[in-house]
Symmetry: D2
Subunit: 262 residues, 4 copies
Amino acid sequence: ALPIAIMAGPCAMESRAHALETAQALKEIAERLGIGLVYKSSFDKANRTSIESGRGVGLAAALPIFAEIRESLGLPVVTDIHEANQCAPVGEVVDILQIPAFLCRQTDLLITAAQTGRVVNVKKGQFLAPWDMANVAAKVTGAGNPNVMLTERGASFGYNTLVSDMRGLPIMAQQTGAPVIFDATHSVQQPGGQGATSGGQREFVPVLARAAVAVGVAGLFIETHPDPDRALSDGPNMVPLVEFEALIAGLMRIDAVAKSLI
Amino acid sequence: ALPIAIMAGPCAMESRAHALETAQALKEIAERLGIGLVYKSSFDKANRTSIESGRGVGLAAALPIFAEIRESLGLPVVTDIHEANQCAPVGEVVDILQIPAFLCRQTDLLITAAQTGRVVNVKKGQFLAPWDMANVAAKVTGAGNPNVMLTERGASFGYNTLVSDMRGLPIMAQQTGAPVIFDATHSVQQPGGQGATSGGQREFVPVLARAAVAVGVAGLFIETHPDPDRALSDGPNMVPLVEFEALIAGLMRIDAVAKSLI
Amino acid sequence: ALPIAIMAGPCAMESRAHALETAQALKEIAERLGIGLVYKSSFDKANRTSIESGRGVGLAAALPIFAEIRESLGLPVVTDIHEANQCAPVGEVVDILQIPAFLCRQTDLLITAAQTGRVVNVKKGQFLAPWDMANVAAKVTGAGNPNVMLTERGASFGYNTLVSDMRGLPIMAQQTGAPVIFDATHSVQQPGGQGATSGGQREFVPVLARAAVAVGVAGLFIETHPDPDRALSDGPNMVPLVEFEALIAGLMRIDAVAKSLI
Amino acid sequence: ALPIAIMAGPCAMESRAHALETAQALKEIAERLGIGLVYKSSFDKANRTSIESGRGVGLAAALPIFAEIRESLGLPVVTDIHEANQCAPVGEVVDILQIPAFLCRQTDLLITAAQTGRVVNVKKGQFLAPWDMANVAAKVTGAGNPNVMLTERGASFGYNTLVSDMRGLPIMAQQTGAPVIFDATHSVQQPGGQGATSGGQREFVPVLARAAVAVGVAGLFIETHPDPDRALSDGPNMVPLVEFEALIAGLMRIDAVAKSLI
């Protein structure tokens, strides 16, 4: 199996300057570590807990910035989409279209995303079993696009809590053949856990990331931010950018052992 | 508190004749029982487990049929919507716009539905706690529409199983002031439980409906079909139409006692 | 089906005077309501969250008090046991031996309790499915004692929370033929939810009791105390004695309707 | 942190010959790998799903065999106890007394086990949160015995399923300072999942063991048997003895990396 790759970046795009600066820093880290990295950021947080929360710069402002990151830095880019009519314009400037977990069963969104020809990364719904994702992946491949990836981000466990069932990683890989990613950022989310916002437990990102890598995954999804406590979204569970390189370096060492065992 | 009302009909609209026939039968039952009834049917099953499953007649074919049911039978009508651009046209012919559980946090969908001025019935996500629905309701009321209803349809409980926490019914009512409906049909669903389709346990519809009515609800959502085992969708958890009247009559008797106690 | 009976009393026996006073009050309530009542109290809280919590008067002190309640008031008595060697002495003075939920799979305890010839009431473990209780009941009946009862008291739902699946009540009844009781007190417990003690939500006792009675049960288990906030154990989820009669009277009205429907 | 140690052996003691043969094989594996190993076997399966299932050789027959394994092979020994009166006799011949998960809150059992002076290994109840184990550990240490270990073996996740929350491992370690063990055998159990017996998923033992070791644990608990499909108990989730050495060798390599990172 290939070494892990990384999908990383700030949860929400905050500005052109912020995006380019973070992408540049991540590109340098990836080069130093010799790891594949896809830049991730959302142009719209379309399903925030509360209507009071910020949503990001929006589609129109974001697309040229994604294009600039791809061209000037040579980094591939991933972002999430929420309605079928976003697939075509977004698909023109990003490498991977990501389907949010809540929307992972919306047939039209999956098919329209598939029809762009871009890679489609589907996050597993918090309400689904790992084996349920075979039907989800089939909606993409059935639309003629074999490039589907699946991402684990925790399952509902009582109220306002998620749990990561590590058995789900090999189950999804075996049943679909798709690359399986572990999202260590949202797996430590506490949905709605702070009343009008979701809480998180940043200190468990490395814990669950180590576990997933030891089990064996194609890659990790880890949001990072220069100053998480001032981030527009998901601050409680983003890793400070200054800690990112050491975290990934350690995970690469576990990955090397794990891939030699499986 | 007012006596319960009922939202009922076949899960998916199958044809004009099928819709009118079922609506006529339900209207007669409601008149005999002296209960308020809203006719429910979906024009599109937009998030089926598998891409192989049927989806319904579609928006364009369904709207005139909903209009006909309203006009010829005088029944109010509810149906669910999946993308923001469906709100305006559907809002012109139905009384209640329903937000599916998976989509209950999609801000644009909630706001656009609210802006139609129609009643908005939001199903509680399987991944949410009852208290999380206060933020959801606020997205609708914050858009200037006070007519929001909330519907319980079960919470994720391990894999391929839902559980109905009856405490959630008064919690949602107290926190939002909105009418709270119990969906006895989807609460007995076994999501993904038959591989490429969701299973269900029709025999528990009356059980959970009795429990919810005794707790105290504004209404019930119960799908019914003349021949559930040949239904396009959700057959395993729909009540046969022939059993519907007796079921509701019994529930009305429990409701009368419960409302006198609360 | 027969009308509901009630198992009620303070969680822990606190003193002879306290026990007799509470039993007398409950006897009078039961007579006024015309309902069967079994007096419940524990002589030892053998599995408290923390070692700092009180445990009760102990077996030796409690047995004469149980005997006195039976003889002077004519009330049947139930108490819980924790090790096999308690079955014989306790069985001599009580009518029903109760197996705590954590211990519901301990084969020796079940068999020894069965061998006393007393009724054995087994609480369903928070870690079991309703259908798992058929094997549990068979351990009692297989030891030659057909008088087994099963009590639902909530299932684990994430951390520090229980949920009551109302489907479990008819499932247990149908699979075993045993009378099924709903424990409305411990079903609203929040295990470990206050750090060194378990929390509770007393306000949901009537809510869940109404639900269970509407589903159809043989009886209810509801702990009550003259002053719950000063109780030795389970204060947060006991019903104040002063509210008990009205609560039961309302439940009897729901029961009468529900039993006529099932 | 120290390298991992292993608690291993057949779930139930089947005979003297079987025990000595397995212990000898495990001793040789441990010596080749340079890892600490404690021999584990149960003399009584006191809480089997069904009364029809085998229970083991019993206390009286087992104690001399444990003594023989300790003396002739020099292996430390662990076994589980079920009632307080077993603590003293069992404590005379084993190194570690293990408290079963169902019994982890039984105060008398914990205190009596503590009073033997032996190490006490408490399995975390399927119904407890990781932070709830601080109160459990305090029952042992409060009885004057600082030598307490805590073992994770999965949390209830819906019906007939367990899930392993890897965050629980560091939480328990940080809150108690106790060595934390991951039980990879019972974490893949499907309680009651085969009707009258518990099922299991042996293929996930290495998966979850790799995850736990990468997170960081003091040791692993892995049951192994020369012929699991003919084992008296827990066959579906035991590792065949012939695969044991390679499994542990791989886990030691992950452990070396993980311990260098934490």
